[in-house]
Symmetry: C2
Subunit: 245 residues, 2 copies
């Protein structure tokens, strides 16, 4: 099999890094790899903030629930869905920026940022580094935005921590292909497929934890729905003047 495809299939998240910063050259290569991803109508509607300042990292780690790998890492990147750049261009050219306030444009910026981030993740692993996404920066989106000086028309979406792995791991089994892939139209999938995957995941946890954990995947999904979280997201996004219409 192709080496790049093999690398993709071998991905796992790393949650412990050596205390060794990435070099400027590494950071630049990672950012340029991110930039090489496809972008909707060439709009490149994202920014990447590299956080090296220990005080900011400490605060982001606190917001994210005390994860040490937000602080102790090679470099911490925050991906921002960014239409503020377009807003600045509108101002300089006396255009009306109202179209930036549509849900369509917000989707464009979120998707652009995510495509770029995944390219960075792939580049990092190709460079022998480990990665972990930090969605938990959204635990306090207002505080994160203040900390990172995020302007209107922009949303800090997630962190991506990249560094030298302290230990190796192995991929976590994904859903069976048949649960994800549909032919020609969306199909409701058979219960048996979920049951088989539940067994896979329960066995996976049992083996990894010596029996301490044994929950199924659908148990996890149900648990994750019990209480709504990050209920300030809609108000925050609207305050940023995005997704208003």
């Amino acid at each position: 099999m192709n080496q790049t495809v093999e690398q993709l299939l071998s991905h796992y998240s790393v949650r412990a890094f050596l205390d060794k910063p990435l070099s400027e050259d590494q950071i630049r290569l990672l950012v340029e790899s991110a930039q090489a991803a496809s972008t909707s109508n060439f709009v490149q509607a994202y920014s990447i903030i590299g956080v090296s300042d220990p005080k900011i990292r400490k605060e982001l780690a606190r917001i994210s629930g005390g994860m040490s790998y937000v602080e102790k890492t090679g470099q911490l990147f925050v991906f921002v869905a960014d239409l503020n750049r377009n807003k600045q261009i509108a101002e300089s050219k006396r255009e009306n920026p109202a179209s930036l306030e549509t849900t369509e444009k917000m989707l464009v910026a979120v998707i652009d940022a995510a495509l770029a981030a995944q390219n960075m993740a792939v580049a990092a692993e190709a460079m022998g580094l480990g990665i972990c996404y930090i969605g938990a920066i959204r635990n306090d989106i207002e505080r994160v935005s203040a900390l990172l000086n995020i302007p209107e028309y922009a949303i800090p979406l997630f962190g991506l921590t990249i560094g030298y792995p302290e230990q190796n791991s192995a991929p976590k089994p994904r859903m069976p292909y048949q649960l994800v892939y549909h032919e020609n139209e969306y199909q409701t999938k058979e219960t048996a497929l979920y049951e088989a995957y539940d067994t896979t995941i329960s066995d996976y946890y049992t083996n990894r934890t010596g029996g301490v954990r044994n929950e199924t995947w659908t148990d996890q999904i149900a648990e994750g729905m019990k209480k709504p979280v990050r209920m300030d997201m809609k108000a925050f996004i609207e305050k940023q003047r995005l997704g208003l219409k």
Copy 2:
């Protein structure tokens, strides 16, 4: 430089494919590569619809503005931000699915789908195939949803057409690194950086078109803001019961 990183940096979109379908094995490897991407809290909140039916492809091509590479391709994939799976699990376990209706959960699903798509794009290029994202399926999101039988709690985000390239091309120059990358906090960037990039892009078009096109990047961005498009996106998403709160 590492071969995978080199591949990422060499990306360009392909807009003409041979009339040669991908094999089942290729499709499965592409989908499994997509699935190997990181996913928020392991929720895997997306579905991938492979469209081989020529009638559906024809209609999707029409909606997307008549692009031939939506029809004549190796395989056409549609990526769906999918919380309907979670809804089904909620029903089977008598959980309340109300938390799926938050903007936070919608973001999770959109980001998960985009990360998976970019992994598929990288895998495709590693396999010697070409790719192009088709955001233009959102030109008529209602019609696309009807065509693909998309249930509530799900949004068809974009297409990804993958096939054997009919011709090679070259990467389009991205923004200078300094316009995308910020250190420790969001920084408003100097006008000179935009001016330099405008020259790069104007030269790029001049060379490619023998002078027929010579617009700058900021001209394009300003032009793209002139009239809001896809104004039904917010109502559609809310009808799907997503992003309601």
